[in-house]
């Protein structure tokens, strides 16, 4: 395969994992985060420590990235999940920036100049494998009582509470799981680039993830997949007009917000059963039409 194309596919696969996590938090539990790049950073650095310093296998590095990111998110959740919507959002922003600045000042791990020489363990196959696992686990989760409880929190928090749902616990669950996804994405990114630098995990990256989730459509996993692929490819296609790329991107973001705020999929889910239903509907429409035509013919009218 064309190395350039492969690179973009890998990047979109990595982005997808982080986006899936954020999709759970934002699309299903209704919480917004501008600090998910911070969890990616934590994942990237934890995994790099495991593989580069301790020379342990990549699988352990991935596990560490998920666990450490989840653990940190739990602490943050304890402190901030009681805040109302926009303040939680601001808190995540502050946290994300704080992580980046701490890493910037931590010379032991390369500081602001970055950390080169991370083994190139990330490959197309392990990205795609993790993508599939990530989608399946998430799809299973949102169709369980736990997932439904998260959705209830998004839909109507007070009603969820009086329906016996511990809303704090379910927000926390969504946050911790989504941070674990982001951590894994960070680990993959680090072992793909073989170089990590705090700058890679800035607020701009967090925003980008949120934009992808919204672009794909809140509450739709297939939308998130589509969003991750389209929005990773789009800037690459625009590379021909390199300097104008982000200008167009910024405009596109505003355009989506004012033009199609429900995103590409807008709550609709692309699953085998929904495709079947869609095909069945088409068939029904066809048979109905055929019936009508037969009836018309039976009545001695012209068949058009």
């Amino acid at each position: 395969m064309d190395a350039y194309l492969e690179g973009i596919i890998m990047l979109s696969g990595i982005n997808l994992i982080a986006v899936l996590g954020l999709s759970l938090l934002t699309g299903f539990a209704g919480l917004f985060s501008f600090g998910h790049a911070g969890f990616m950073a934590i994942g990237a650095y934890s995994a790099a420590i495991v593989t580069t310093i301790f020379k342990l296998p990549f699988s352990l590095g991935l596990a560490a990235s998920a666990i450490v990111a989840a653990g940190v998110s739990w602490l943050i959740g304890r402190a901030t999940l009681k805040l109302k919507g926009d303040y939680f959002c601001i808190a995540t922003l502050g946290f994300g920036e704080a992580i980046r600045l701490i890493l910037d000042n931590f010379q032991g791990l390369g500081g602001a100049r970055g950390w080169p020489g991370i083994p190139p363990h990330t490959a197309l196959w392990n990205i795609l494998l993790l993508d599939v696992i990530g989608v399946v686990l998430l799809a299973h989760l949102v169709r369980s009582r736990h997932g439904r409880n998260m959705i209830a929190v998004r839909e109507e928090e007070l009603a969820a509470q009086v329906a016996g749902i511990d809303t704090f616990r379910y927000k926390m669950m969504a946050l911790v799981i989504s941070a674990a996804y982001a951590g894994v994405a960070g680990a993959l990114l680090g072992h793909y680039m073989t170089f990590i630098q705090p700058k890679m995990f800035s607020m701009v990256k967090s925003t980008e993830l949120t934009i992808i989730v919204i672009f794909g459509g809140l509450g739709s996993i297939s939308g998130s997949v589509l969003g991750a692929v389209v929005l990773t490819f789009l800037p690459e296609l625009l590379r021909a007009v390199d300097k104008w790329r982000l200008v167009v991107y910024g405009l596109a973001v505003i355009g989506i917000m004012i033009g199609r705020p429900r995103g590409l999929m807008g709550g609709f889910e692309l699953t085998p059963s929904s495709v079947k239903r869609w095909i069945a509907d088409r068939k029904d429409a066809k048979t109905a039409k055929a019936d009508r035509m037969a009836e018309d013919a039976g009545n001695g009218k012209d068949v058009r």
Binding site: L101, D104, I211, V247, G250
Partner: protein, 292 residues
Amino acid sequence: MSQFLQQMINGLSIGSVYALMAVGYSLVYSIMNFSNFAHGGVIMFGAYFGFFGMTMLKLPFIAAFALAFIGTAVLAVVIERIAYKPLRERSAPFLYFIISAMGASIFLENIIIATIGPTFRTYPEVWSRSSIAIGPLAIGRLDLIMFGVSAVSLTALVLFIDKTKMGKAIQASAYNMKAAALMGVNTDRVVMIVFALGGLLAGIAGVFFGMKYTVYPQIGNITTKSFVAAVFGGLGSLPGAVLGSVLLGIIETLVAGYLSSQFRDLIAFVILIGVLVFRPTGIMGKATEDKA
């Protein structure tokens, strides 16, 4: 002791510029309940307007300064019309505003990079760089002027909001936009004025920021700290924004002076998280009671 006083003075001067920017965040928040992240981009444009006014158009400082703040006032209003008004009209959730603001911020930063380039530019010297000595303390002329102009602008803003009819309309809308509209306040105009005011102060802050440091496309990122100051003081509260800014300016300078300049940026976000955890409404923000 004199070193401490010196730091306090430096902190006060940078804090006053933060205040100019923080007030912009707070004004918009008080009316529309969202954090306008495009504000940083507007501040950056202010720095460029002033710079090119002086260098390319060869304007005297005062004229370039006016060009900057009029330009940013217009820019802020234009952004509101394009990026927020459609959302306002269908009362979209606050997140859509934030994302749209992020989009505007990405756009503003990159249009500068695409057209003018990412280079750092230094303002021509307006006032002599030598400082004024008061006993053992040395105060930079620029710092002094910065502080003076900020204080005057903020006082003017407070008077405008307290004494004029439009100011009253802004207060009413901040209290309750829908009720204000029912009482006959033209809320669309209120929003426009609020953005114009925020933009105006952003222009002033941008010019000073550019003069004190340099002018470059990412200057807006630094202004995130003024947003932190607004949260610190209590989002939506103007006195809070000013107090938070001054405190942040002083704390930052002290941290840089006594600990390490590397922690200068970090401390802002540590404060942000601390405030949110222990007192989310900030120093002056009012606590809201949830209604079921």
